[in-house]
Structures are given as C-alpha cells and as structure tokens.
C-alpha cells in the first residue's frame, strides 16, 4: 500500500517535472525541473530496491549533470527566453508521433501486465561491484575512456580563448 502511494507520488513528481522540463519557457526553470525529475527517478530506483543505482543517480545525475546544466544555463541563458516562444512549429506532428510511440509502449506494457515483484530486494552493491570488476571489466574500463574523451572535448571547447 505504502509502495503504491510512493509510486504514485513519485510518478506524479517525475511526470509533472518532466513536463516542466519540456514545456516551461524559462530555461532556468526547466533545468530546476530536470533536477527534480531526476531525483524522482532516483526515488523510483530506490523503491525498486536498487540501492546502488539510486546512489549513482543522485550523485551523478542530480548532483552532477543537473548542476552542470544549470551552470551552462546561467552562462548562456538570456532574459529574452521568457518572451520568445520556446516551442517550434512542428509541435503538432510531434505530438502525433509521440502519441504513436506511446501507443506502441502501451502494447509492450500490456504484454508485461500483471507481473508482480518476485522477491524482496536485497542490497546489490557488492554483487554489482563483483560484476563490474569481473565480467564487465572491459566496458567498465572503456567507459573511463569515454569520459576521458568527453572531458578532453569539454576542455577543448571550454577554453576561454580558443584560437
């Protein structure tokens, strides 16, 4: 019961803030909504018993990405954002397309309907760590190269005085 209540609350937070991200004219507000939304998703993870993912979500996403975006918005955002229309001309076809997507997802949802959770969640950190350094060692290392590359790019473009 509690679970249900929590789920619905989190869902409401997630969806509303997601809509906020997409629809709010001010970029600043959007970015804040994003943070809220990501936090909500973290909550979902928690409710699903994935503690490690929950932590990562909070640390990396809410703490990192959202904040980063916020910074950039502060740097590049302008006052005119609130006056200028923030939605482009193709919203109608987009809406239809999104509806189609959702229809497809509903099919999938229907296919998986009525499956209850099998067992109570158990702490996963240890198991995940074992996997990460075992079978998933190569992708784990690979991701560090990805991060390195992205960092290099950020440094490259971020320099004040790019020649």
């Amino acid at each position: 019961m509690t679970e249900t209540i929590i789920f619905y609350m989190l869902t409401a937070v997630i969806l509303l803030s997601a809509l906020g991200v997409v629809l709010l004219p001010g970029l600043m507000h959007s970015a804040l909504c994003l943070g809220l939304c990501l936090a909500g998703v973290a909550g979902i993870f928690a409710s699903l018993g994935s503690d490690f993912v929950f932590a990562a979500q909070i640390l990396v996403y809410v703490g990192g990405i959202a904040v980063l975006i916020l910074f950039v918005v502060l740097l590049a955002g302008s006052a005119s954002d609130k006056i200028v229309r923030q939605v482009n001309d193709q919203w109608l076809p987009s809406l239809l397309i999104c509806a189609a997507f959702f229809w497809a997802f509903l099919k999938i949802t229907g296919y998986f309907s009525g499956i209850p959770a099998a067992a109570a969640p158990s702490p996963s950190v240890r198991a995940i760590a074992a996997l990460m350094l075992g079978d998933y060692a190569v992708p784990f290392e690979l991701i560090s190269v990805v991060l390195l590359a992205s960092m290099t790019g950020a440094v490259l473009f971020g320099r004040r005085k790019a020649q």
Partner: protein, 475 residues
C-alpha cells in the same frame, strides 16, 4: 581473463591516445606535427599487431567480446582508415598546432571504440563502444572552432546522435526485458521463445535506429551531409569510412550472423531501407555543388549498396559486404584525399574548383576519375568488383533480385554526378592554370589508395580469399 591479451591492440591504442594527449601538453607548437607522426606510428603499430594476430590465428572470446576473423578484418579496415586520416591531417590547415595532441588522441580513441565495436558481443559493451566513437567524433567534427559550419555540423551530429542513442538505449532496455540479457552469446539459444514478443521486436527496431544513424541509413542520415560538410576534411573522410564501416561490421554481426536470419522480422524493413538509402543518397547527390557534401551523399548511397549484402546475409552476401568495405575504404579515402588537395590549392570545396583540373594536374585528375569511377562501379576498378560481388549475392538469393535491379538503376544515376566532377576536370576551363601541388603525406595516401583501387580491381583474388576466410562470425 587471460584472453584479455587479445584485446592488447585496443588497449595499446587507448594508451597511445592518452600519451599523445599528454605529450601534446609538453611539445611546442612548432613541432606539433610530431604528434601526428606519433599517432600514425602507433596506429600503424597496432595495425601490425592486428595483422600479426590474424596471421597467427589468435582468436578467442571474452564474456562480452569476441575476436574472430570478421572482427579482425574490420579492425584492419579501421586502423588503415585511421592511418590514412592522420596522414591527411598532417598538413590540414585548420588544425591549430596546440590542439594537435587532442586531435590525434581523439582520433585514436574513436578508432579504439570502433575496434571494440567490431568485436562486441554484448549490447551494453556495444553501446559503450558506440558512445566512445560518437563522442570522439562529435568533438572532432566541431574541431574547427572558428568555423561556424564546423560547429553547426557538430551540434547537428550531436543532437541526432543523442536522440538515436536514447532510442537505442531504450531499445536495449526493451531487449533486456524480453530476453533477460544483453549478452549475445547466451541469447541465441533462447531466440525462439521471444520471437513474437513485442518488446523484443520493438527493441530490435530501436537498436536498428542506432546502427542506422551510424551508417547513415535513410532516414537516419540527415546528419551526415551537414556534419560531413562542416567537419575538417580528414575527419569527413574518417567519418565516411571508418565510422561507417565499423558500425556496418557490428551490424553485420548482429543482423546477419548472431541472430538467425529467420528470426529477424526486420529483414524486410532493412531491405526497404537499403533501397531507400541508395536511392535517396544518389538522387540528392545529383544536386550538390559542394564536393564534400556530394561525397557525403554518395557515401550514403554506398551504404545502401552495402546493405544489399547485409540483407541477403548468406555467406556470399557477407563476403560481398566485406569486400565492398575494403573497396570503399580505399576508394573513398582516395577521393577525399584528392578533394583535400584541390581545396588546399583553390581554397574551395565547390565544384567549380575542379574546372580545368586536367590541365593543371593531369595525374591528379586521372586518379580522381579513377576513384569516382570506382565509386560508380566501372571496371576494372575495385568498386566494380565490389558491386559485382554485392549484385551477385542479390542475384543468387532470388528474393532480393529487386534490390540488385534497383542498385543497377542507382549506379546509373550515380554516374551522372560522379562524371559531373570528371566533366569539370576535363571539359571545363579555369582561369587559374597553375599546377596543383600535393604534399608528401597526401600524395602517399593518394598513391596507396589509387594503386589499391586499381590492383584490387585487376587482381581481386587475394582479397576475395581473405574475405572468404573472414566470413564466418564467431557465434
């Protein structure tokens, strides 16, 4: 874990990238070219390692990856393209000396990602490799920071890439939901169970989007012309060759090998998309006035041809894709190299820069015609043998004969715009009649690629045998 030794080439390449990045911070701007040399050497060394592995038949697999002849073939192609790209970059004007280290490192990392990709047997592993490629390539595309075209190309590339990555990831999640694994080793045994599972079908289609984006398959190709035009030319060549072929290799692995053919409900979809890809690519190319853009569309069309073999997916179909990949590698590289030389002289990638080129440099013109004809599939050049192979596979399959017919029609259309360049070079006059010089690096690339274009066309047997040897994926 001992198998990790088989991944040595990738690891070394990644480390080389890191070292070069670091070295870039210490080497003076005047000697920045050294970094290119270093990069080239390391890529060449790794290429040597890969070849050695192949010669010693060092094959094997880890939990998420595999090293089989097919993977090695694609690693070979990727590394060769990397070497060419770095050689072409040496005298490319728009790369500032202080950024050479970054540039080289990124190229090496992208190549490293491609190499991982070519052996990927797990969707997450595959996804991460793809991301490594994408992220490096985004940055490389936008490398000419002063050039708004470069930045615009990069951002468009990035946004398209972002969306398709998101879709792909969602697809992988659905795939995971349907099968309980992202690993392709375990997957095969249970394929029949979720053959009609909507999550599975949807997942496969979403994954297809990711590949479609990488190989610039219609309708996921829109980024390609813009990014190609904006990117530094060596990177354009790199994107059109290495990135595309690596993704194609992985796609072959998944859609034409790992998953049994009958179990792919999407084969017809891919066939239709292949048809669309070559048609749209060729038709749009007809109107291009910018050589890079023209070659971009042409490379879209070329991907369409290659998809024929993928759709056919029997051994000869796979062989044909492999062979065509080789052909495409040398030919397209060469074409871009010549385009670079011409642009280096005239400062323009517009088609009028080619007016009267035959008068200014007959050799370069003839070589360029060779590349173009090879792309168009005229014997005795390698492009012809490749197309011959592809069409042969389609004719052999009977089911996809229509793709071959469409390919024929498209080849005819493509000749129009390829020969349009030739026309300008040979039939038109230009005001400037000064000779066009080529620097030693570019000349080397042009020489090697043109020789390969001709020789592989005349004596394709060796390569065919190699390709035949690579055809069986480990699965």
């Amino acid at each position: 874990m001992s198998n990790l030794i088989l991944l040595n080439p990738e690891i070394i390449l990644a480390c080389a990238g890191l070292l070069i990045l670091l070295a870039g911070a210490f080497i003076g701007e005047s000697r920045a070219k050294l970094l290119f040399h270093l990069g080239t050497i390391s890529a060449a060394a790794v290429l040597g390692m890969v070849v050695t592995q192949a010669v010693m038949a060092a094959y094997g697999n880890g939990t998420m990856w595999v090293l089989d002849p097919a993977a090695q073939l694609f690693k070979f192609i990727i590394l060769l393209a990397t070497v060419f790209t770095l050689l072409l970059s040496v005298n490319y004007h728009a790369i500032q000396p202080r950024h050479v280290g970054t540039y080289t490192a990124l190229v090496l990392w992208a190549s490293c990602g491609m190499m991982f990709l070519s052996g990927a047997m797990d969707l997450i592993y595959l996804l991460i490799s793809l991301e490594l490629i994408s992220i490096s390539c985004f940055i490389l595309t936008g490398f000419e920071q002063k050039n708004p075209r470069s930045a615009e190309g990069a951002i468009k590339y990035f946004l398209m890439g972002g969306l398709s990555t998101a879709v792909t990831i969602y697809g992988i999640s659905l795939f995971y939901g349907a099968t309980g694994t992202t690993n392709l080793f375990n997957y095969v045994s249970s394929v029949d169970l979720h053959f009609n599972d909507p999550a599975y079908i949807m997942g496969m289609l979403f994954i297809l989007v990711g590949f479609g984006f990488k190989i610039s398959m219609v309708p996921f190709h829109f980024w390609a012309p813009d990014a190609y035009e904006g990117a530094p030319t060596p990177i354009t060549a790199y994107l059109s060759v290495a990135s595309k072929l690596a993704a194609l290799g992985a796609m072959m692995r998944i859609f034409a090998s790992v998953i049994p053919h009958y179990a792919i409900s999407s084969t017809l979809v891919i066939a239709v998309l292949a048809a669309l890809t070559m048609t749209v690519g060729n038709l749009t190319a007809l109107f291009q006035t910018n050589v890079k853009r023209l070659l971009a569309y042409s490379s879209i069309a070329q991907a369409g041809y290659m998809l024929i073999g993928l759709v056919v997916a029997d051994p000869i179909g796979r062989e044909s894709v492999f062979f065509y990949a080789l052909a495409y590698l040398v030919t397209n590289m060469g074409a871009f190299a010549v385009a670079m030389v011409v642009a280096g002289k005239t400062g323009s990638y517009e088609l009028d820069a080619y007016d009267g080129l035959a008068r200014r440099s007959l050799g370069l013109s003839i070589v360029m015609v060779m590349f173009l004809l090879s792309l168009a599939g005229i014997p005795p050049l390698v492009g012809f043998v490749g197309k011959f192979y592809l069409f042969a596979s389609a004719v052999n399959s009977h089911t996809y004969l229509w793709l071959a017919v469409l390919g024929v029609v498209n080849s005819v259309v493509s000749v129009y715009y390829y020969m349009n360049i030739a026309r300008r070079m040979f039939f038109s006059e230009s005001k400037d009649v000064s000779a066009v010089e080529t620097d030693i690096y570019t000349a080397g690339v042009i020489f090697v690629t043109s020789a390969a274009t001709l020789l592989m066309g005349l004596l394709p047997e060796t390569f065919m045998r190699i390709v035949k040897g690579c055809v069986s994926f480990h699965s």
